[in-house]
């Protein structure tokens, strides 16, 4: 049994080496499929991170009338925090708002204009962030409540409603479309790789018949071809990671320009082990299953 396994592995490796250009061509196609798979993983990371950062920027601000007592505002803050859709609530007092404004505009005309005023023109406000952008309309209507209404000056949701709703729709569509596209393209990559292995095995059709006539069992014939398929997968997986490394370093500055929140370089290199594992699993499964199915067809002599 063990002798047989050793022989099967030995012949699988020998077949791989002796097939020469056929092996190279098959590895190249597998490499393309696996690189594509890797690209889809990275692309998904970029879109999800971008969408998260966009989502994070959406919020609604509730401005209170100047005379609103602080404990009332804190009561509203607490009650908002009690809502399950709400991720965070930040209270910005009059003084804090002034301070933030000054920090943002140190030397420009707006700062000078502010100097002219004796009074602090800012209103106290609270900033509400939800887990899901589609919940903002619920939160806004919650604030319409009569017990809050008397001290609320305005809620920005009404002004930003169209923008928020449109962004929410875009986020949802990009997410859904991205997943769909990923699935379609992954299927195409798998079919191309599968077909290539099928063709590589087709060239061995006659050999399989001979082995059967010499008295080899199905598993003894199939074994080396599956080993060969696995070798294709392993080499293509390792190459895909080796090629992706420099490529990521190359495109990282461009990605950083488009979405500064994403550090593709750090994402890739800190996840390199798990990405390599994914590639190996995908490559080995693709190689072994394709060989298995392709060979089965020629085993009926």
């Amino acid at each position: 049994m063990i002798t047989n396994i050793i022989r099967i592995i030995k012949y699988g490796l020998k077949n791989f080496l002796r097939n020469g250009w056929l092996s190279v061509a098959t590895v190249v196609v597998m490499l393309l499929a696996l690189s594509f798979f890797l690209f889809l993983i990275v692309f998904r990371f970029i879109t999800i991170s971008t969408l998260d950062s966009v989502r994070d920027k959406i919020d609604i601000s509730v401005y209170f009338i100047e005379s609103a007592p602080e404990d009332e505002i804190i009561r509203i803050q607490k009650s908002l925090e009690g809502l399950e859709q709400v991720k965070s609530v930040e209270y910005i007092s009059k003084d804090e708002a002034l301070e933030r404004f000054k920090n943002r505009h140190t030397n420009d005309a707006a700062a000078q204009a502010l100097e002219e005023l004796d009074d602090n023109p800012f209103l106290p406000s609270i900033n509400v962030k939800a887990y899901d952008p589609s919940d903002y309309s619920n939160i806004a209507s919650y604030l319409e409540n009569d017990s809050f209404k008397s001290i609320i000056e305005k809620v920005t949701f009404a002004q930003n409603q169209i923008v928020i709703e449109r962004l929410t729709a875009i986020i949802e569509n990009v997410n859904r479309g991205g997943l769909f596209l990923t699935l379609i393209l992954a299927v195409v990559a798998v079919l191309v790789a599968f077909n290539t292995i099928w063709l590589a095995m087709y060239s061995n059709k006659e050999e399989i018949g001979i082995m059967r006539l010499v008295g080899a069992t199905n598993s003894y014939i199939r074994g080396p071809y599956i080993v060969e398929g696995i070798v294709y997968g392993i080499i293509a997986a390792i190459l895909s990671i080796l090629i992706a490394g420099p490529f990521i370093l190359f495109i990282d500055p461009w990605i950083a320009k488009i979405t500064p929140e994403i550090d593709l370089k750090i994402y890739f290199f800190s996840n390199i082990l798990i990405l390599t594992l994914y590639q190996l699993i995908f490559g080995i499964a693709l190689g072994a299953i394709s060989s298995f199915i392709a060979i089965r067809k020629y085993m009926r002599v």
């Binding site: 002798t3 047989n4 022989r7 020998k14 077949n15 002796r18 097939n19 006659e206 050999e207 018949g209 001979i210 082995m211 059967r212 006539l213 010499v214 008295g215 080899a216 069992t217 199905n218 003894y220 085993m299 009926r300 002599v301």
Partner: protein, 230 residues
């Protein structure tokens, strides 16, 4: 012992079925050397395909030792084929294995140990005169050398029967005699040999049993037979 009992084989063509064998019956005893002769299309190759289980008869029984070949399933074939060595006109060597590996393969599938392989393969290759070319690939060998590799492969696992289907069909007269001499030698060592051929000189010089087929029927079966087509 090998026995064909009232064997029929027909092939379904696009327009009509053609009968390759019609009621073939004969027996071959252990250690016999039997030649199958007949024109092209007489049914020689079909008969061999049925014997090695490459095809199944339409009707009748094919027996080899304790095996009823016509009843074996696909997964039981390897067991039968361990008792037979087959030699074909087109050699059918594994192209990406060396002469040594081609011969060793037959032993490996028969479950031989590495020690046995290391011992027997060089011996058999030496016997067929290929001890110096054992690490060459089939495409690096001449036709006669390839056929000798095929013979070495067919005999290395010491089968009870060696079946040769037109083994000299692609060879020049010199190599033809070399191959026939080898088959006779193998037979003398105690193996049944079945040789399908239409080489008149070979048959006449052998002076062994000859079964003559014509249009799928056995028309003559003689000890010390000669090559006579109807």
């Amino acid at each position: 012992m090998i026995a064909f009992h009232n064997v029929y084989k027909s092939y379904n063509g696009s327009y009509s079925a053609s009968e390759a064998l019609r009621g073939v019956t004969f027996k071959i005893q252990p250690n016999e050397f039997v030649s199958l002769v007949g024109k092209s299309g007489a049914g020689k190759s079909t008969l061999i395909k049925l014997l090695i289980g490459e095809e199944k008869p339409t009707k009748g029984r094919v027996v080899l030792g304790s095996y009823e070949v016509n009843k074996l399933s696909n997964s039981e074939m390897p067991k039968l084929r361990k008792h037979i060595g087959v030699i074909f006109q087109d050699f059918r060597l594994l192209a990406n294995k060396t002469a040594y590996e081609n011969v060793a393969f037959a032993l490996e599938v028969a479950g031989a140990s590495q020690q046995e392989i290391d011992e027997f393969v060089p011996q058999v290759l030496d016997m067929v005169g290929l001890d110096e070319r054992m690490y060459n690939f089939p495409h690096e060998l001449s036709g006669g050398e390839r056929q000798r590799v095929a013979i070495a492969r067919a005999m290395v696992h010491r089968p009870e029967v060696i079946v040769a289907d037109e083994p000299t069909g692609n060879l020049d007269p010199f190599n033809t005699w070399e191959i026939i001499k080898l088959l006779v030698k193998i037979n003398e060592l105690g193996t049944t040999v079945i040789l399908a051929t239409h080489d008149k000189e070979v048959i006449n010089s052998l002076s062994k049993r000859v079964i003559t087929l014509d249009k799928g029927v056995v028309v003559r079966d003689e000890e010390n037979g000669k090559f006579t087509l109807i």
